[in-house]
Structures are given as C-alpha cells and as structure tokens.
Subunit: 96 residues, 2 copies
DNA sequence: CGTCAACATAGACAGCTATCGAAGCAGTGC
DNA sequence: GCACTGCTTCGATAGCTGTCTATGTTGACG
C-alpha cells in the first residue's frame, strides 16, 4: 500500500469516522431512490448547520454528490464508491 | 442504523482514518503468518513512539490484538474484524 | 417586490489528536 | 548484576474538529 493510496483511503475512512456522518451516509445510501434531500435525513440529533457541515465533509471526501432541484438539495452516494464496493466483492478471495 | 451501532462502527472507521494507521493495519493484515512484530512494520515515516501510539489506538478500536513473545510484541488482526469482513461478503446482495 | 422556507457559510470556542523527545519497563545475554 | 534492545508511557505542543449561534444565499409563491 503506497503512501498516496493510504491517504486517499484514509480520507474516506476518516469521513465515516464520526457517528453523525455515518448515520447521514447510511440514511442517504438506504433511502428509496438512492437519494435524499437534507430535510429527509437531518434528524440526527444536531443542529441544521452542523448537518450541513457534515454533508460537506462527506462530499469533500468523495463519498456523496449533491444536486439542487428547486428549493431542495438532494444527496446521493458517489458512483465511484459504489464501484469500489463492487470491486471489493469481486476481488476478495473468500472471507478474508 | 441505531445510535449505538453508529458509534461502534464510527470508532473503527475513525481508527482507519489516518494514513499512518491505515498503512500499519494493512501491513499487519498482509504480513506472512497473519501477524507482525512492531519492528517489522515500523517503517512508516514517523518516530517509533508514534508508531506505538497508533498501534494502541488500533487495539483500542478493536481492530488489532497484541501478544508479547520474548523481546518482541506481535500484532494481528482481531478475529471479530475478520468475521465482520466475511459477514459483509456473505450478506451483500450482488455489487451494491 | 416581499416574504418565507431550505440550505450554506462565517466566526467562535472547547475538546481532541498527531507528533516529538525523554524517560520507563521488560527480556536477553554476557 | 549490567548493559543492550524492543517497545510503551509521559509530558508538551501545535493543529485539527465538532458544535453552536448568527447571518447569507437561493429559489418558490403571492
């Protein structure tokens, strides 16, 4: 594992290394249609600006994408992340 | 995803959310025999006390186990983590 | 144009964290 | 018992982070 690889992967792990962000990511990933607007998932126990802050971090880490449609902003899991999950399932020998 | 679940999982992600720790974990996991002594993996670009500090964090997160044998201390991936990996491979539908 | 709702940004602050050098502890071997 | 090696712990410090309140921005609707 190279230094560069470890830094990219660590950035993603780090983004998921907060309970609030993990619940937000999980909520987006498991939402019907594969996407959710902020108002759908902002009931995680912190204030609205804090939710926005965490979603920004998840976006910066490359885990989520956002798109504005009218008044609402919709978030969905980045395709590259889904691809990475598929990659893991395809390349892992049997069960570690 | 419950609050409790998210906190446990986030603790593990957070532990892997540092490039140095990720390389250490990777080095242990990919080492012949499934275990490695500190001297085998401590070439990650930081001082030796810092390596020890990171290994402690990985142990506290439940990702690694350590065992002293004579002068050396050996680290290996925790069985529960290996089991969790197997679980993911077994329960994930196809490719996310 | 004015108002309202949905999100984002700015600024501040307490708490955590990664890192180091120095010192301590545990075994080995002479 | 003494010195040496491998690793951990201690103490200090600079930098990051999660949270809040207050304020901006963007679009919808009369």
């Amino acid at each position: 594992m190279t230094v560069e690889e470890s830094e990219t992967a660590a950035r993603m792990f780090k983004a998921l290394g907060d309970p609030v962000r993990l619940r937000l990511f999980s909520a987006v990933a498991s939402h019907p249609g594969g996407e959710a607007c902020v108002c759908d998932i902002s009931d995680v126990g912190v204030s609205q600006p804090t939710v926005s802050h965490h979603l920004k971090k998840l976006k910066e880490a490359g885990l989520l994408l956002s798109e504005r449609r009218g008044t609402w902003v919709y978030y969905r899991v980045a395709p590259s992340v889904l691809a990475a999950m598929g990659q893991i399932l395809a390349t892992t020998p049997s069960a570690a």
